[in-house]
């Protein structure tokens, strides 16, 4: 043990330079851990997947046939060499409703056995809740990774028979109750496959009892291959092992399908013969029945004729009798009427006579009273005449008196008018006095009388007027009296004439009365005679009628009998017809099927054709690719970190190396000291890293895959080959860089080494020549700038480390926002329709159209065709991608529902009837551009159609081929059969309300909302979050290791400088910045470079991990850049905080003591 001291020194150096040792160990940990973890993920996933497949006895081969499989087929497959188990099943797709939601279901028949040890129980399900179905109306549902939404145990599923035209041929029951929830290895992925019903994507898979399938034979066969479980199904060895059996099955398929075809043909011809025979027999039988029927009808007809004759006779007799009776009756009635009229006339005459008599009597009385009246009036008139004469005498006297008085008055007034005392007056007075005297009056008396004259005069006038009136009355009365007398005399004459007339009328009346009495008597005797005749006729007729009625009843019975017979015949005929028609239809169907489907085809599909398997397989491949991209960064940084660290170490040990050399140790021995140092550090680090990486990374990735795949938990596994490779490459890289670092010192002579290395001289850097900038810098800043220029290796290491960190963080943020952008962009700016509303039949019902145009619920809607299809390049038909073919009825306004934009120049373009626009990702997958032709095939058809691309549009989720009407007709030879509406809903109603509003409409199909689709995608991309965390953590560790190392070396190298600064009285803060400023500047530069580098890393990662149906945007957001920059600087800050104590604890005295 002569090297004991040397070894001791080697061990002690580890203790004394712990931080250095740790930083090498840490970078080894990181490099080896990331590599091992990422590399192990793919095999670990494959292993876990394979284990699950083996445990659940997943099929190795699935067989499909357009003619279905018979039990003989099943037996033939079972007896094929290499086949260990066979399970036959039926599958049909349909939309269905659970609660208020529509889904697309795949309905499978339950396997016969659910005993896991049964080799024929293939694709075994893991029942997680509930129980197996016991009744025909019960079902099991497969829980996809993203959950069952509103479906729970006890939910009832109501399938829509209209949604698949084959449904009724397959299943006789459409209502099921979910009694069990299971996981199925066959449906791992949340994407459970494409379908032709609903929106083109299967939402859920149901298993229902096989009894519900009414179809003959089976649609699907699953088989396992002996020995296949021994190989990992995700490796080529598996396919190599199964290949031979698959080949044999393919050969068998060729035989069976030919046989099956022949069988079909012969069955068909047999059926045709049988049909013809049956038809002949039916025809004969029917003819017999028809003859009997005809005979019966003849008999009946003659009976009917007889009856008719009898009836006619009866009717004639009856009519005669009735006529006679009617005549007699009429005569009687006439006579009665005459009598009645005579009576009436007589009565009238009688009343006339009595009224005339009364009139005559009244006339006599009137005449008598006229006479007495006349006499009394005449006496009164004579009396009045006498009175009048007396009155006249009195009047005459009064007049004379008045006249003399008026003479006296005239005198007086003449006298009074003359002037008293005048002669004239005297004369006049004398005259007046004379007159007075003659009158015998005194003057006073005269004055009084003259004064009463006017009264007198008026009285006189009145009396005169009275007198005149009375005189006129009397003369009138005389006249009247004379006229009345004359009238009375003529009335006397008339009265005597009428009296004579009345007497003659009385005589006549008596005569008429006696005549009437005679008439009445003869009518009475006529009536008696009529009544007896009528009674006789009635009884005769009643007899005849009874006879006739009996005959009629007989006929009726006969008719009924005949009708029964007819009905019986009709029924029989209808029955026979239906049977024959059915048979004929069947024959026709069979013929059509044969001609439509042409040659029978059998498909032998291996696991690669299972969507879940293929997706999972692709994902494991992606993980593998990812494992090759990232570790490169870490290894590169590890090498650089180690190189700088070891260079520093060798430099520090310069004198020691010289001493060892001087003592006679070989170069190899001395180099070994450093190699061992580095190797042990990296070995410890990488072993820890591998163990940690094997556990952590696959676990995190697996957990995130849980969201996309329904898989059991994974046990982290240890892979010796990966562990070895990862540890070996880490240690190798570390040792290589150590060797490079050591070599430089070892080639020097011991003498040179013993001399202290000339301190690296300060160098002027470019910036110093920029005076305005330089003169403004403080000394510590100047030192920083000069230091940066001093050690290029370290500069590059730090820059690459920080660059890697920033790129990783940027990639992480980019991935996150790209995934978010799928939702925002796809559903925010590309898809504008909110719902798709399917309809059954060729045309939507008018009710549906009118409901869709209800502006309270819908903004607008348009009719489209949307169907699942496969697209492939023209040259290679096996390079298939799932797409949706969408053909709008109204091309011009279709951009209201979907925006078309050129992915490169970003500008939007219109959609035309002759447009064929495919989505960007599809164009990338198919490697085609505008003007190229691709082939499109519907999933439920076999013919391929060539379409020539006229445009490519930006799209992030799923692949679409948009075909205008005209282009569609050109390619498919028929106009598109529209099957749904794209609708933009109006604000103010929830999706549930809209669905309720539509659900009762006739001919309505599945309704789905883009919101639900968004939800699905949102769930599936949550898986990205964990990967983002891995990236950020890895980036943080990377930054930490690199910066820690850089700072560590810097502090070590500048211990003296720092001590000097401390002695000079620099505060802690100033001392820190002396070191940290460099770190910060490098971080900033590295960060800026990293932001550019991140763009490339991100694109590389996206190109590696992007699934077929998703396009992740290649553009990064400013938030991503900002976040990456902030995180990088945060890591820098954290490292600086960690290093502060080291600087603070530098001992001024120790550092200043001596040079070494």
């Amino acid at each position: 043990m002569k090297n004991k001291a040397f070894q001791k020194s080697s061990i002690r150096v580890v203790k004394s330079t712990m931080t250095r040792f740790v930083s090498i160990a840490l970078i080894s940990f990181l490099g080896a851990g990331v590599f091992a973890g990422l590399a192990a993920t793919s095999p670990n996933m494959k292993q876990a997947g394979d284990q699950y497949y083996d445990e659940q006895n997943v099929m190795d081969v699935r067989m499909l046939s357009n003619y279905g499989f018979s039990n003989e087929d099943v037996d033939a497959i079972r007896s094929t060499e290499g086949v260990s188990g066979v399970m036959a099943s039926n599958t049909v797709d349909a939309t269905g409703t659970v609660g208020d939601k529509d889904y697309a279901f795949r309905i499978n028949g339950l396997p016969k056995s659910n005993d896991p040890s049964d080799a024929d129980y293939i694709n075994q399900m893991k029942l997680t809740e509930g129980r197996w179905p016991e009744n025909d109306n019960e079902a099991i549902i497969i829980r996809p990774s993203i959950g069952l939404k509103n479906i729970t145990l006890g939910s009832s599923v109501s399938l829509n028979k209209e949604s698949n035209k084959n449904f009724v041929d397959f299943l006789d029951r459409a209502e099921y109750t979910v009694v069990g929830i299971a996981e199925s290895p066959y449906y791992l992925s949340f994407m459970q496959g494409s379908t032709t019903v609903g929106n083109g994507m299967i939402d859920y898979v149901l298993y229902v009892p096989q009894n519900n399938f009414i179809i003959d034979g089976y649609t699907d066969l699953y088989a396992t291959i002996t020995g296949a479980k021994a190989s990992n199904t995700f490796e080529n060895a598996y396919f190599a092992k199964t290949e031979a059996t698959v080949k044999r099955l393919e050969t068998l398929a060729d035989q069976r399908k030919a046989y099956r075809y022949d069988e079909f043909q012969s069955d068909l011809s047999k059926a045709k013969t049988e049909y013809a025979d049956a038809q002949k027999e039916a025809d004969d039988k029917l003819a017999d029945a028809q003859k009997q029927l005809d005979d019966g009808r003849d008999t009946l007809n003659s009976a009917k004729a007889e009856y008719e004759d009898g009836l006619a006779e009866y009717n004639t007799q009856k009519a005669d009798a009735e006529k006679k009776l009617a005549d007699a009756r009429k005569k009687l009635d006439d006579a009665a009427a005459e009598i009645a009229a005579g009576e009436k006339e007589l009565n009238t005459k009688k009343s006339d006579f009595s009224s005339a008599e009364a009139e005559l009597k009244a006339a006599r009385a009137k005449l008598d009273s006229g006479w007495s009246d006349y006499n009394s009036k005449s006496a009164e008139l004579a009396k009045n005449k006498n009175e009048l004469a007396e009155k006249k005498t009195a009047l005459d006297h009064a007049q004379a008196q008045y006249d003399s008085l008026s003479q006296l008055g005239a005198l007086k007034s003449a006298r009074d008018a003359a002037t008293p005392g005048s002669p004239q007056y005297a004369q006049l007075d004398a005259q007046y006095q004379d007159a007075l005297k003659s009158a015998g009056l005194t003057e006073q008396q005269a004055d009084a009388q003259i004064a009463s004259m006017p009264a007198m005069k008026s009285e006189l006038d009145n009396n005169w007027a009275e007198y005149n009136t009375a005189a006129a009355q009397i003369s009138e009365g005389e006249k009247q009296l004379a006229a009345a007398k004359q009238e009375l005399e003529s009335g006397e004459k008339e009265y005597s004439a009428k009296s004579a007339e009345l007497e003659s009328a009385r005589t006549e009346l008596n005569k008429a009365e006696s005549q009437l009495a005679a008439g009445k008597k003869s009518y009475q005797s006529g009536l008696t005679e009529y009544n007896s005749q009528k009674a006789e006729a009635d009884s005769k007729l009643a007899n005849a009628k009874t006879k006739l009625e009996n005959a009629a009843a007989k006929i009726q019975n006969g008719e009924k009998e005949l009708a029964d017979k007819q009905k019986e015949y009709d029924d029989k005929k209808a029955e026979a017809d239906t049977k024959l028609a059915d048979a004929k239809q069947k024959i026709e169907n069979a013929e059509k099927k044969l001609s439509d489907m042409g040659e029978p085809k059998w498909y032998v599909l291996d696991r690669n054709m299972n969507e879940s398997f293929a997706t999972y397989h692709d994902d494991t491949g992606r993980m593998h690719d990812l494992a090759t991209v990232f570790p490169v960064i870490f290894f590169l940084v590890a090498a650089l970190v180690c190189l700088t660290t070891m260079t520093r170490m060798v430099d520090e040990d310069r004198t020691l190396i010289g001493t060892f050399k001087a003592l006679g140790y070989s170069n190899g021995k001395i180099a070994g000291r450093y190699l061992k140092y580095a190797a042990s550090a990296s070995l410890i680090g990488s072993i820890a890293g591998v163990c940690f990486g094997f556990w952590l990374i696959p676990t995190i990735i697996w957990n995130s895959y849980h969201i996309v795949f329904a898989l059991p938990d994974m046990t982290p596994a240890f892979y010796w080959s990966i562990a070895f490779l990862s540890i070996f490459s880490t240690v190798f890289i570390i040792c290589l860089s150590t060797g490079i670092a050591a070599k430089k010192s070892l080639v020097e002579t011991p003498a040179d080494l013993m001399r202290p290395k000339a301190p690296k001289s300060g160098k002027r850097v470019f910036l110093e020549y920029v005076k305005p900038v330089w003169s403004r810098l403080s000394f510590t800043k100047k030192v920083t700038v000069r230091n940066l220029g001093l050690n290029k290796k370290r500069l590059i290491m730090t820059l690459i480390g920080i660059l890697g960190c920033t790129s990783l963080v940027l990639t992480a943020f980019g991935a996150k926002s790209a995934v978010g952008a799928i939702l925002d962009k796809q559903f925010g700016s590309i898809f504008h329709y909110d719902a798709s509303v399917g309809f059954d039949g060729e045309k939507p019902s008018s009710e549906l159209v009118s409901r869709l145009s209800d502006t309270a619920y819908f903004g607008k809607s348009t009719e489209v065709l949307r169907k699942s299809a496969e697209a492939s390049p023209r040259s290679n038909e096996n390079d298939n991608y799932n797409v949706y073919v969408v053909s709008p009825q109204d091309a011009k306004n279709f951009t209201d529902y979907v925006t078309f934009a050129d992915p490169k120049i970003k500008n939007e373009f219109n959609f035309q009837d002759d447009s064929v626009v495919i989505t960007e990702k599809l164009a990338m997958n198919l490697k085609v551009g505008v003007g190229d032709t691709i082939m499109v095939k519907y999933l439920d058809e076999s013919s391929r159609h060539a379409v020539t691309i006229t445009g490519i549009t930006t799209n992030y989720a799923f692949n679409y081929v948009y075909i205008g009407k005209d282009a569609y007709e050109k390619a498919f030879g028929a106009l598109p059969e529209y099957n749904q509406f794209f609708a933009i809903t109006a604000k103010g109603h929830t999706n549930d309300e809209i669905k309720t509003y539509l659900s009762s409409t006739s001919g309505i199909g599945a309704i789905s909302f883009t919101d639900d689709l968004m939800g699905n995608i949102r769930t599936s991309i949550k898986s990205v979050d964990n990967i983002i965390w891995i990236l950020i953590i890895a980036a943080g560790m990377l930054a930490f290791v690199v910066l820690y190392n850089l700072t560590n070396i810097n502090i070590g190298e500048r211990q003296r400088e720092l001590a000097t600064l401390k002695v000079l009285g620099f505060y802690d803060k100033e001392t820190y910045s002396y070191i940290f400023r460099e770190t910060v500047i490098l971080s900033i530069i590295g960060c800026i470079l990293g932001l550019f580098g991140g763009i490339f890393l991100y694109r590389a990662v996206v190109a590696t991990v992007e699934p077929d149906m998703i396009l992740l945007t290649r553009d990064l957001t400013w938030q991503g850049y900002l976040g990456a920059a902030i995180l990088t600087m945060l890591f820098t800050w954290i490292v600086n905080q960690c290093m502060k104590p080291r600087i603070k604890n530098i001992d001024m005295l120790e550092s200043l003591k001596s040079v070494d």
């Binding site: 301190p759 001289s761 000394f779 100047k782 003296r1056 600064l1061």
Partner: protein, 233 residues
């Protein structure tokens, strides 16, 4: 009161179980403007004394005063400020910042204190007016030590502490440095403390403190110090 006073200053280093008493109760005083030579054999504790005086190390017990301030009671930040404002150091191995030019090295010190002297003038004073833009690596040892003196002096400190300033220099250069320090003291009235193991330097000082095995063996005032040019060793 004296400008600098050490009263019963002790310093014990402890590493693990072992206690080493480097300074065992030192007492001495220094007056302002004196050039003091602290002399003693290697390991006698003179550097420890200097470090405690310069605020780079704390004493275990006792009191240290400078210009009335009790340095031994200073906390960490006060000590930093004390070093920054009041003390200038000159080391055996110069301790220049390699990445800064001569002038910048001086400015490094002068720019952090309150009342500095002009950096360029200081360099001229030490005779390096021509080498101001050179990096330390481009200077000889003596030149580097001059820069160190200029750096310490430019702070305009109360006290200039020099730890074996000629230790790494040849005879002639060493003498020049001693001359420079003596001139600084004489011309500018700075108090200068020089630590050396070389007894020949005793003649230079106004005051000579002999330290032996962690104690002051002898303090002697020298009223007529010799010029630096004339001493020989």
């Amino acid at each position: 009161m004296a400008y600098v006073e050490f009263r019963n200053v002790r310093k014990v280093y402890q590493s693990g179980e072992v206690k080493v008493e480097a300074v065992k109760g030192v007492n001495f005083t220094i007056n302002e403007g004196e050039l003091v030579i602290v002399v003693g054999p290697s390991g006698a504790g003179k550097t420890t004394v200097l470090n405690m005086l310069g605020g780079m190390d704390a004493c275990t017990s006792g009191d240290i005063f400078l210009d009335g301030a009790e340095i031994s009671k200073f906390n960490r930040n006060q000590l930093i400020r004390y070093r920054r404002e009041d003390v200038g150091f000159v080391f055996q191995f110069y301790n220049l910042v390699q990445n800064l030019t001569t002038l910048e090295n001086v400015e490094l010190a002068s720019q952090i204190c309150k009342d500095p002297l002009d950096a360029a003038q200081c360099l001229k004073d030490v005779g390096l007016g021509e080498r101001m833009q050179n990096f330390p690596a481009q200077l000889s040892g003596g030149e580097q030590q001059r820069v160190a003196i200029a750096r310490a002096y430019a702070k305009n400190p109360k006290l200039l502490l020099c730890d074996e300033p000629t230790g790494a220099l040849d005879y002639i250069t060493g003498k020049n440095i001693l001359k420079l320090l003596q001139d600084t003291c004489r011309n500018n009235g700075k108090s200068v403390v020089i630590i050396t193991h070389n007894a020949a330097f005793e003649a230079l000082g106004n005051r000579v403190i002999r330290i032996n095995s962690g104690t002051v063996a002898d303090v002697r005032e020298n009223p007529d110090p010799m010029d630096a040019e004339r001493i020989e060793w």
